[in-house]
């Protein structure tokens, strides 16, 4: 099918420089048409122009030119009226011409009006339309129930109304969708308006969704009933009722019936599709639900960008100025890091094989260095087979740990042996001590002091492994005592103390641990 052709110059009156005036004149004629005034004289046109709100100055010559132009475009017809009574020649010249809209003029005017309506209307999902469809279908059902030929006209008009409602439903949905998309694209919409529109829309959508199912069900039921009575019967009777005017050539009934069938198929598609198809009315649900979700999302985005975007452009400009005038490149980098926070972190990646071997808090100078590939130092490259080295050699680590543990144990044993008092002595008896041994002594004293004293004030404690027992008696009054180590002095009350191995000396313990 070829796309329809619009007669040339039909809408030209809307596009020229003087389109305002042209449109106004067309409106004047349209207005007159509604009042069933079929023609207007020059003076009447002027009067009407004022009535529809055209106040711009307009001289006779200008109006004449305009009318002439519209006539030339075949939108207006002009006839001379010789029947009128004219008093003067001037009056005759002004009044003898009568203008009226041509068919094309009427169409053009209607077209413009329709275009404006579409531009101004906002789509809507209307439950009323669904109700109306159900009502009309019900009516058709009743009408088909009687065989009365007089009812054929009613059938025809009802069918037309039904089709009208279906069209409305389709258009509204389409328009509503479009409206929504436009709403979401809106860059310039101010927040308050959007809030208003949004909340109103959401309330509206909710109401719509609530009863959508029952309404659609009602339509489905009555649609099925009508189908039982026969769609072709319906169409035939409507055809009779339509009383199509005869036209030369082909029988007008054939295209008419085809059009009705197409409409009916459309109706079924909406409510009762063949097979497993999903009725389109069900999609209205999705449309509505999606609309609610997207509206909320858009709102979020708008709020967010509103919050900063007015100032954001200013922020970027301020930054641009600073960058352009940065005292040095280093400062520019610093500004980049601070303002954008996109700089990566930076960390070491080589770790100790066994970090636990190094006491925390030791200076770096005393801690063993991490293993750096020797190859890197000699040839500038790391060994590439070294990739597997990531898996630590557990055996070596364990051996190192075991060795370290053994050494510590030996040190501990030595220290304890030195401290073992073999009876009750005073702290002052220790005199000068090695630093390590002194640390052990402090440890033991600490344990003892942490214990609760018994009735006589004696405190007892054992080490965690239960090997050493320490007993501490209350210190007699008097001056304290100083213990000396190579690293300093330690002042303490002169406690009587006994430190002894539990269950034999170190030799016995060694045997026990071996067993």
């Amino acid at each position: 099918m070829a796309p329809p052709r619009i007669p040339a110059e039909m809408f030209q009156f809307t596009t020229t420089e003087r389109s305002d005036l042209h449109t106004a004149v067309m409106y004047a004629f349209g207005d007159a048409n509604e009042r069933l005034e079929t023609f207007l004289t020059f003076d009447q046109v002027r009067e009407r122009l004022r009535a529809i709100g055209w106040y711009a100055p307009l001289d006779d010559a200008g109006l004449n030119r305009t009318l002439g132009q519209l006539v030339q475009w075949k939108l207006l017809d002009v006839v001379q009226n010789h029947a009128g009574a004219y008093a003067t020649a001037e009056e005759y010249e002004r009044k003898n011409l009568q203008y009226s809209l041509t068919r094309r003029g009427e169409a053009a005017f209607a077209g413009v009006q329709h275009a404006l309506t579409v531009l101004e209307s906002s789509g809507a999902l209307q439950t009323a339309v669904l109700d109306a469809i159900a009502d009309r279908l019900g009516e058709l059902d009743t009408l088909l129930g009687t065989a009365d030929a007089a009812m054929n006209r009613r059938i025809f008009t009802t069918l037309q109304e039904l089709e009208g409602h279906l069209d409305a439903l389709r258009n509204n949905t389409k328009q509503f969708n479009g409206e929504l998309q436009r709403l979401m694209r809106a860059e310039g919409a101010d927040l308050a308006t959007f809030h208003e529109v949004k909340s109103a829309t959401i309330v509206y959508l909710q109401e719509f969704v609530i009863n959508l199912d029952s309404r659609a069900e009602a339509v489905r039921a009555v649609l099925a009933q009508v189908e039982l009575r026969g769609v072709s019967v319906l169409h035939q009777r409507a055809l009779i009722g339509a009383e199509l005017p005869p036209s030369p050539g082909a029988d007008p009934a054939v295209p008419w019936l085809t059009a009705r069938r197409a409409k009916w198929d459309g109706l079924r598609l909406w409510f009762l599709p063949e097979g497993d198809g999903v009725p389109r009315v069900r999609q209205l649900h999705d449309v509505a639900r999606r609309a609610i979700v997207s509206l909320l999302q858009v709102l979020d985005r708008i709020t967010e960008s509103r919050r900063r975007s007015s100032s954001a452009a200013a922020d970027f400009r301020a930054l641009a100025r600073w960058f352009a005038n940065a005292p040095s490149e280093q400062d520019a980098h610093r500004l980049w890091g601070t303002a954008f926070g996109l700089a990566p972190a930076r960390h070491a990646h080589l770790a100790h094989e066994d970090a636990e071997l190094i006491p925390t808090g030791a200076p770096w100078a005393e801690a063993a260095p991490v293993h750096v590939s020797a190859h890197l130092r000699t040839s500038g490259r790391t060994e590439h087979i070294g990739r597997t080295a990531k898996v630590r050699d557990v055996a070596a680590v364990r051996a190192a740990r075991r060795e370290r543990a053994r050494r510590e144990r030996a040190e501990l044993e030595t220290a304890w042996r030195r401290l073992s008092t073999g009876g009750r002595v005073k702290l002052s008896a220790f005199g000068t001590l090695e630093h390590d041994t002194f640390r052990r002594l402090l440890d033991l004293l600490g344990r003892a002091l942490a214990a609760r004293p018994d009735a006589s004030g004696l405190r007892r404690a054992v080490t965690t492994d239960g090997r050493i027992e320490v007993m501490l008696w209350p210190a007699p009054d008097g001056p304290g005592v100083e213990l000396h180590t190579v690293r300093g002095r330690f002042t303490t009350p002169d406690y009587p103390v006994e430190i002894r191995f539990v269950g034999g000396g170190p030799a016995a313990a060694r045997e026990a641990s071996r067993a």
């Binding site: 100025r321 520019a332 700089a343 991490v370 500038g380």
Partner: protein, 409 residues
């Protein structure tokens, strides 16, 4: 059953630690550049956001549908050695011109969701012309177009603009290039991380181009006056504590070494306290770092090098190898040497490694090599350079962890 549960917990921990380090390394992770990492972050979104908020007070924004995750890093002291880099094989750092153009483009791109490179350039021309403090932009000049394209490509990399049709690079050859862009306004806005709007700071100063005090950009109200040195008295106990934790961990998680000498009294006290120590350890462990705590300071080790823009020691660049060898030289001579003395050492290195010829063998090559190598050491917090060719280079304590294995004593 319990094994499975254990496995799951373990997997979860590993994912979390990986995601944390990925975000530290790249504060903006996009679906279009790193689908896997983005997916990981999306899955662990909530736990990650909690983690960053608790330990360092950084916001993590994840937009699953828009396809990006942004860790809003706020740092009081930014490191000049981590500039924006050109998206070219040279990875050369941005210069003032490129930074300026980047900001101008960003400001102009906010205006329309879809634009072309020509329109964008035109708007930048106008914006630069309208501002007496910004040098004009002249798209006729090839170097200007190259700078413009570099800035635009970085924005593309971050996903703030997307080339729908055509390639940005074609603009370098001709100002007539046709490239169509879609602008993601929200993401563009999220490139800015400073808690205080730059425009507000600029307005409060009389001179529109006066260099700002960068600390003014990073004032966060929740710490009260705790963050301002000397005014800590006005802050509540909670604010002081929060600030000590956040400021310390921000540095530790971002910088190669944090020396005690550079820490404030409040930070030192926090790090020394029982809670502070526990939190440092826990943060490091949960993020998959090893915490190295020494008398002089702290550092984090990331064995997978996920949270790092570079590695040291590394064979990746001649300067890095030279840095390691110079480090040995410095360590052998009690840690300090005059810069000129190091240049001689570099000369010897160049003789030893003829392969470095192409980059450094020409006139002044030894000087340049020393410059680059010392910069590497400084960038990793291992040395300090008192500046210039006449200055001296001093090793910092952490450098000793890379010295040649000493005999065990």
């Amino acid at each position: 059953m319990s094994t499975l549960a254990n496995q799951l917990v373990k997997a979860e921990k590993e994912e979390l630690s990986r995601a944390i380090r990925v975000l530290l390394g790249r504060p903006l992770v996009s679906l279009h550049t790193d689908p896997e990492d983005f997916d990981l972050i999306r899955r662990r979104h909530q736990a990650l956001a909690r983690w960053f908020d608790y330990y360092c007070g950084w916001r993590l924004l994840v937009e699953p549908r828009l396809g990006y995750a942004r860790l809003v890093k706020v740092r009081e002291t930014a490191d000049p050695s981590r500039p924006a880099r050109r998206r070219r094989s040279t990875r050369a750092p941005f210069d003032r011109r490129r930074y300026t153009l980047l900001c101008l483009i960003a400001g102009e791109a906010l205006a329309a969701p879809v634009t072309t490179i020509g329109m964008l350039a035109q708007r930048v021309v106008q914006a630069a012309a309208a501002d007496e403090h910004i040098p004009g932009f002249d798209p006729v000049r090839g170097d200007e177009r190259a700078a413009f394209a570099d800035a635009l490509r970085l924005l593309e990399h971050y996903g703030a603009v997307t080339a729908v049709d055509g390639a940005t690079d074609s603009y370098v050859d001709s100002a007539e290039a046709k490239v169509l862009y879609r602008v993601d306004t929200t993401r563009l806005l999220r490139l800015l991380a400073a808690p205080v709007a730059p425009s507000a700071v600029a307005e409060s100063s009389d001179d529109p181009v006066a260099w700002p005090d960068l600390r003014d950009l990073t004032v966060e109200r929740r710490y009260g006056s705790a963050a301002a040195p000397g005014f800590a008295d006005g802050a509540s106990e909670t604010q002081r504590n929060l600030w000590a934790r956040h400021s310390l961990l921000r540095r530790l998680l971002d910088d190669p070494v944090v020396y005690r000498a550079d820490m404030t009294a409040a930070q030192l006290a926090y790090a020394g306290s029982l809670t502070g120590r526990q939190i440092l350890r826990r943060a490091a462990e949960e993020a998959g770092f090893e915490l190295e705590e020494r008398a002089e300071g702290y550092l984090l080790i990331d064995p997978d090098a996920l949270a790092s823009d570079g590695k040291f020691p590394d064979e990746g660049a001649h300067a890095k190898v030279a840095a390691l060898l110079l480090l040995d030289v410095l360590a052998a001579s009690s840690g300090t040497r005059a810069f000129n003395g190091l240049v001689e050492e570099s000369g010897r290195l160049l003789e030893r490694f003829p392969r470095w010829a192409r980059a450094y063998q020409s006139d002044g090559g030894a000087g340049r090599l020393t410059d680059d190598a010392v910069a590497v050491l400084c960038d990793f917090g291992l040395a300090r350079h008192s500046g210039g060719a006449t200055g001296s280079v001093q090793l910092l304590p952490a450098a000793l962890r890379y010295t040649v294995d000493r005999e065990e004593t």
